[in-house]
């Protein structure tokens, strides 16, 4: 690609010939405001907040779509540019409800930030506000069309990253709305609840369903024994809610904060992640040995599960029957733990802290009641926990680190890497290798399955058997692998699929912003946390060993099937 020379605000810069003015300016350290722009996904020049002056051009140009040219002279901050952008922002705000003080995205809203950056002191236009009602039909996500600026970022992610297209742009003109076909409620269509739309929404037009009130109520109820589990990915992201760096490992502070809120026991989903490896690893070995259905595909990610139920029902019997770690935890908390602690399971209230909006749906699936009660009572996202901690006045960074409670808080490094793409695969390999070969694995790292490549393939030799592996994250990438498997183009023994880009650390319930750079930092945090664990293989988890000895007896045993395994149902593509 040839390069061109241009100047931006008098500064000479060089750029590739097909670069946009926006990219070029950003590389040169010049900030141009954007709203509808989402790198590589939504580049449509719709919001007109990135207008710049290009000398010789008839009108102001949108920097996100305008290409550079040799000798171009660009001005990003002349009075006419600033005035035009301000006018456009005022027009966008003219039909936006001014409810910032009570908005779920208060202080974390791109539109609010733009108004602040532009120094708006008055909004001169007062337009009609869209009459479309709030849609809270989904168990995971709420759509508020009044707050939608029609940037289409959610539509782009749903289609291009996830390959789901549950929502698109409907109607036109003032009646335009982002919604499912026929303006059907989100809860009734093939939405997988992944929440990637909520992550990229600049406002509160799509956000998680807030269930903090139910948790406050349980904590205040003296009759309830309230236990909490924390997903692997939360410990490398919750700090961001309090100004800490993305990827900073804050496990001990997280435990202290939860205890401070009043949870009776603070447990760890990493424990049941280790347990998942025991069950799923055994399932893999048994399918290999007994000629069961292959490839075996992981089942930890509830967005992925709903996706395959809608779009690839023919492959449902390839799914591991293992419940996700969240649901294994819930089932054990109200059986094994209840017995051990001598508490009536009816009084146990299980709260999950998850990086995920789809977990809210998963907890409500009717079959997830193998303890005799709903196994997990309430799922909160990382963002909701952050809000609770702020309400409680927790000064997160100054907390002293604390340890998880016994026994469901004991875990290994294999459990924590579930939070990153490739982690379940790697954790399974660490255990399967030792179980099959009888040798100690050293070093334990399987780096071939790590990293942000959309689809990763690897092979590993297990006692003379070559295991072919694939790892995909983001449902668009999952489609590629599934199509290759369905057509017979590729053969694998074991596939890990995570719904969200980067795995759970990039989940739809994580702090906003979540972008490529932040995902990479959280992944680095996950592997740091793994390295710091004294034990790094699931089968070495003493609490899991005790669980089998005292209660479950053996992987894939009778009790495991009762409590830890599940089934799936085809849902139809519409």
């Amino acid at each position: 690609m040839s390069s061109v020379n241009l100047t931006i605000d008098g500064k000479p810069v060089q750029a590739e010939a097909d670069a946009t003015i926006l990219e070029t300016a950003r590389r040169a350290g010049i900030k141009i405001p954007t709203l509808c722009y989402l790198e590589e996904l939504n580049v449509i020049g719709a919001c007109r907040l990135c207008l710049v002056r290009v000398e010789g051009a008839r009108a102001l140009q949108p920097a996100c779509v305008a290409r550079v040219a040799e000798g171009m002279v660009v001005r990003t901050n002349t009075p006419d540019v600033l005035q035009a952008r301000r006018l456009n922002l005022e027009l966008i705000l003219s039909n936006h409800p001014r409810e910032c003080l009570t908005c779920p995205r208060n202080n974390n809203c791109e539109l609010q930030q733009l108004a602040a950056d532009f120094g708006l002191e008055e909004i001169r236009f007062e337009g009609e506000i869209t009459p479309y009602p709030v849609d809270d039909s989904s168990p995971a996500l709420v759509r508020d069309p009044r707050k939608c600026v029609l940037c289409r970022r959610c539509v782009a992610v749903c289609e291009q990253v996830q390959g789901v297209s549950a929502i698109s742009v409907q109607e036109r003109g003032f009646n335009t709305i982002v919604a499912p076909a026929f303006l059907d409620p989100l809860g009734s269509v093939a939405c997988v609840n992944c929440g990637q739309c909520a992550l990229v929404c600049p406002t509160a037009a799509i956000h998680e369903k807030d269930q903090t009130a139910a948790v406050w109520a349980a904590l205040a109820d003296p009759q309830k024994h309230v236990v909490v589990q924390t997903a692997p990915a939360v410990r490398v992201s919750i700090g961001e809610m309090f100004g800490l760096k993305p990827g900073e490992v804050v496990t001990g502070k997280l435990v202290a904060a939860l205890r401070h809120l009043g949870f009776d026991r603070v447990f760890d989903t990493d424990f049941s992640a280790d347990l998942t490896i025991m069950e799923e690893g055994s399932e893999l070995l048994s399918r290999l040995k007994e000629g069961g259905r292959l490839p075996l595909i992981t089942s930890c990610s509830p967005g992925w599960i709903k996706f395959i139920e809608h779009f690839y029902p023919a492959l449902l019997s390839n799914l591991s029957t293992c419940k996700s770690p969240q649901q294994m935890f819930g089932a054990l908390a109200k059986t094994y733990y209840a017995q051990k602690a001598g508490i009536d399971p009816a009084d146990i209230f299980v709260v999950s802290i998850m990086p995920c909006t789809a977990k809210k749906f998963e907890a409500g699936r009717p079959e997830m009641n193998s303890s005799g009660y709903q196994d997990v009572d309430v799922v909160l996202t990382t963002r909701e926990l952050g809000k609770m901690l702020k309400q409680a006045g927790v000064d997160f960074d100054s907390l002293s680190e604390e340890e998880y409670d016994d026994p469901l808080g004991i875990s290994t490094g294999a459990g924590v890497i579930f939070g990153a793409t490739g982690g379940v695969m790697e954790a399974a390999l660490r255990t399967a290798y030792e179980l099959v070969t009888g040798e100690t694995l050293e070093p334990v790292d399987f780096t071939a399955v790590r990293g942000m490549a959309g689809v990763k393939e690897a092979a590993v030799n297990l006692n003379g058997t070559e295991l072919k592996l694939a790892v995909a994250h983001g449902l668009g990438n999952a489609r590629k692998v599934l199509d290759a498997v369905s057509s017979g183009e590729k053969t694998f023994h074991f596939i890990e699929i995570m719904c969200c880009p980067g795995g759970c650390i990039g989940g739809g319930g994580q702090p906003i912003p979540t972008n490529t750079e932040i995902r990479a930092k959280r992944i680095a945090g996950i592997y740091r946390a793994d390295r710091e664990m004294p034990r790094r293989k699931s089968h070495e988890n003493p609490a899991v060993q005790a669980l089998y000895k005292e209660f479950l007896e053996q992987p894939l045993g009778y009790k495991s099937h009762e409590l830890l395994h599940t089934h799936y149902e085809p849902r139809g593509q519409f």
Partner: protein
């Protein structure tokens, strides 16, 4: 009645052709009279276009309709010239006469009403079209008579 063989062939001809969406929707509306939910699902599956996008196109273009149309299509022009010459009074009268709003169809399936922008006959405003017939300089008092002609035409056609 829809010729199901022709319908199947249309879908088969455009299988996995997202770019054919608009022409298939056109044809589908011709064949079915409108675009019901099940038809859009079939199109979505055949052309491999997500249903949300199919509906996005259908709801964008006022040409497409997801509700059944009447036997006679009334188009009332609300372009500037017709508007200043009294379209609104005509519209009021039509709504009273037929008991419906623009975009709706009478309960007996006789008439559908839509408001359009400029039929290109501004000098003749206010202009109304029923099916392919153009009515110029329409005044509310003439409406009942005009509509009756279509009702009559329908009865005669049935009797014939």
């Amino acid at each position: 009645m829809v010729d199901s063989k022709e319908w199947e062939e249309l879908l088969a001809r455009h299988r996995d052709q997202p770019a054919a969406l608009i022409q298939v929707l056109h044809r589908a509306q011709e064949m079915h009279g409108y675009l019901p939910r099940e038809v859009l699902k079939e199109i979505s599956a055949a052309l491999n276009v997500p249903l949300s996008k199919v509906y996005g196109v259908v709801s964008f273009y006022s040409f497409f309709t997801t509700s059944p149309k009447g036997r006679h299509q009334i188009s009332l022009c609300k372009g500037t010239a017709c508007y200043v010459r009294g379209t609104n009074q005509l519209l009021d009268q039509l709504e009273r006469e037929l008991g419906l709003k623009p975009g709706e169809t009478t309960a007996d399936g006789e008439f559908s009403l839509s408001v359009v922008r400029c039929l290109g006959a501004c000098g003749l405003g206010p202009v109304m079209m029923i099916d392919d017939d153009v009515y110029a300089r329409v005044v509310p008092e003439r409406l009942a008579q005009i509509l009756d002609n279509y009702r009559l035409a329908g009865r005669q056609a049935k009797g014939a």
